[in-house]
Every structure is written in structure tokens, then in C-alpha cells.
Symmetry: C2
Subunit: 241 residues, 2 copies
């Protein structure tokens, strides 16, 4: 599986993804699940993916091909699409088409393929937006009421987000929130694994402000994880039955 | 859905279940999912259930009928079974048979039925044991390495258990742990709902030591839940990125 989470806040966007893929528990590998498409100052689009690697890799490759196609237009290239809604539609259509193709191949083995994505970004002059694209290509959008979207193994890390993430959450707190949400997931589910990819996009910057790979031995992450564990145990000891 | 959790500790057993059942989100009802079978001082068995209500109700009813049957024997009655392992086998066989019968009926509608249970208890002179019974009737047992079992919506409430529950955890802390685990689940998943049923069995007592229904307005639970929320937010503020 996978765990990816995206936050759409007043100050900007924070995205975090793990990198573990597995074909059975005995075949584990590391693959990037975060993809950035950027024309700094003009347009930034970040995509994180969950599900069948054969679907997500092909879908991302097709999105790239469509961008590089000399005949690319606003209906086919996410770097030319007039709005973030159009971007979500292109990604949705691509994901649905690739998933269907792979699904048809797998049907012979009585298996299926599924995948989902979070697409977030902004073009100059437009709104900052974030969408969750379902395997069928339809999508939902993050709003002030629900400023975060999750794909993959989302349940372990949801309680902390439910408690602390609001549209007015700062980008620093937002990075802490997604990392702690990931920390809970890493502890409880083997199919989610380090390293992690973390990206931050400030509102109206239309560029990636920071992008960081957090490796398994990352001292800062280990320290934060240990501090959070200790804080939770201390809180647990303090709360009265 | 449902969330039920059982802890098998050095000092005894703690079980917690919610009571929400739903046939679609527009048809919600409250049903007890915790069932106690007790001959105080001789034998105590507690069962919590998750899954299709038509399966779990019928399985519990059949277990009761088998106990009351004048021809009941150690192979059919969980109150006469010689060991907790035999109890788990009887419960597993009953669950698998009922599930299969309901499944066959539903097959005509291209639907299926599933259910699982946690069975915990002790008979005089025997070991205190706890089992998770799968829909197929097979089961696994709690051990020192893994002193808790969960059924239903188990993911939201697992991180706190992973962090604080050990075999040497006191029964007071254990009750706090399962209630906080449930609190996280209640907040994040509508298909799990109050009231709750909480039971405690001390080692070698062979009787229920306390059994409590926690209603939606329970002041103690609300206070604990609020204190935990505050402690989490305070901890979050303190942990450095």
C-alpha cells in the first residue's frame, strides 16, 4: 500500500508521501510517489499517487508525454490547461483510461488494478486548489471544511489530522501534522515505509518552495518521532480515567 | 461497522465494544455487541462481535441454545467445554456455519455476509486466554508479544494501543487505553457509535469484575475525551519540527 496526504491551507499546500511499494510482503521496493510539474512563477502542480504501480507509473508517463507533445493543447497538457479544474480533469481522464487498460489485462487472471491520486497546485492568477482523483477518474476537492485529503492507508493517521488541521494552520505546523500522521501510519502498517517525500508550496508563489526527501535514518524525523511518542505516553499517564 | 478491542494482560482481561449497527448510512440502530457467559468462580467467557448483525445475532443465539440444551456436552456447550481452546473451536464452528448459511441466502442477491468475534475468558484451573475468530471459523490467539486483538474499524485506534499497551499494563491503564483508542475511532468514523460496553475480568477470578455501559452523555468519558484532545494538542504544540 501507500500513505499520501495533502493539506490545502490559507498559507499554502503541504504534501507528504511514502515510497514503499510491494507485490506481496516478500517483494518490497522503493518508488517515488510524488511528482512535480513546474514552470516557476507561472504554474506548479504536484501529484502524489497510491495503488497499482503499473497504473500510476504509466499514467504519470502519459501526462509527461502529453506535456512534451509538440501538438499539446489546453485539453491534453496539464501545463497548458486553463484552470486547476481542467488539470484535475486531464489527470482523471488519464488515470481512468490507464487503469481500465491494465484492469482489462488483469481480468484474464481474475485480478484487478486500482489507483488514486492527489493533485494540487496553482497557476498564476488562479486559485490554489487540491483534488483527490478516484480510480474511475472522478474527483473531489479540498475545502475550508475539509482542508486535507488522504489516499492509501489513511485511517491510522487520520485522528491526528482531525484534531489539529484547520485552514488557518501554519505551514510549519502543517508539516509537523503530516509527519506525525505518517509516523503513526509507519508504526502500525508495514506496507507504508520510509523514505518520505515532503513538498511545500506557498500561496501565490506558483513554485515549489521546499522539497525534501526524508531518509530512514533522518535525525530530525527520528527526534520528532521520539518526542511525539514520549509526549503521547506522558499525556496518557496524565489523563485520568 | 463496529469497533471492538480486547486486551489480555498479566492482571486480567479488558474488553470494549461500541453498539452502532447500520444497514446503509440512513438506517442506524443500537445493538449490544458484548455477550457474557458466566458461572461465577467457575467460568467466565466474554464475546464481542463485528460484522453482519444477522450472522452475529444468530451465532450468539445458537451458542445460547447449545448451552441450554439438556443434551449439551463438552463438544457443543461453551459452558462445558474443557478448555478455552475448545470454547474458541465451538465459537469458530458456530460462526462459520451460520455465516455460510446466511452467505448462501445472500448469494442470490450477489451479496455476501461476514462477521468476526473476539472470545476471551478463563475456566477455573485453566489459563486466561483470548482469541480472534475469523469469519471462516479459524482463529488466532493473543500473546505476550501481541497482547491486544481488534475487530471492525481497527485502524484509527491502533496507534495508541501500539504505543502504550504491554502485558504488564495495569487494568486501570488498560481501560484508559481502550477508551482512548475508541475515542479516536468515534471521532474519525461515523459507523462506530456510542454507547459503549466495557468489561473487566481479573486473572483467576473466573467472573466479570466490572461491566459498564457508557452512554453518549457520560460525563466521565466526555471529560477524559476532552482532556485527551487537549493533551494531544498541547503535545503537538510542544514537539519541534
Amino acid at each position: 500500500m501507500t500513505y499520501c496526504v495533502g493539506l490545502l491551507l490559507n498559507e499554502g499546500i503541504v504534501l507528504l508521501s511514502d515510497t514503499r511499494t510491494n507485490a506481496g510482503l516478500d517483494n518490497i521496493a522503493t518508488y517515488r510517489k510524488m511528482f512535480i510539474f513546474e514552470e516557476p512563477g507561472e504554474r506548479v502542480i504536484a501529484i502524489v499517487t497510491a495503488g497499482s504501480l503499473s497504473v500510476t507509473q504509466t499514467a504519470i508517463a502519459e501526462l509527461r508525454e502529453a506535456i512534451e507533445d509538440p501538438e499539446a493543447g489546453p485539453d491534453s497538457s496539464i501545463m497548458m490547461a486553463p484552470t486547476m479544474l481542467s488539470v484535475a480533469e486531464i489527470v482523471g481522464d488519464t488515470l481512468a483510461r490507464v487503469r481500465q487498460t491494465v484492469d482489462d489485462k488483469l481480468a484474464a487472471m481474475r485480478q484487478g488494478a486500482s489507483a488514486s491520486m492527489i493533485v494540487a497546485g496553482q497557476r498564476k492568477g488562479g486559485e490554489m486548489r487540491m483534488f483527490l482523483i478516484y480510480p474511475e477518474g472522478n474527483f473531489i476537492e479540498a475545502t475550508d471544511d475539509t482542508p486535507f485529503l488522504q489516499i492509501g492507508e489513511h485511517k491510522y493517521g487520520k485522528p491526528i489530522l482531525d484534531r489539529v488541521v484547520r485552514p488557518e494552520t501554519s505551514l510549519a505546523d502543517a508539516q509537523k501534522a503530516v509527519l506525525l500522521s505518517m509516523d503513526s501510519t509507519l508504526r502500525s502498517n508495514l506496507s507504508v515505509g520510509m523514505p518520505l517525500d515532503l513538498a511545500v508550496i506557498h500561496r501565490d508563489a506558483c513554485r515549489i518552495d521546499s522539497q525534501r526527501r526524508i531518509e530512514a535514518g533522518d535525525a530530525d524525523f527520528a527526534r520528532m518521532s521520539a518526542a511525539w511518542s514520549k509526549a503521547l505516553r506522558d499525556s496518557f499517564a496524565k489523563v485520568k480515567l
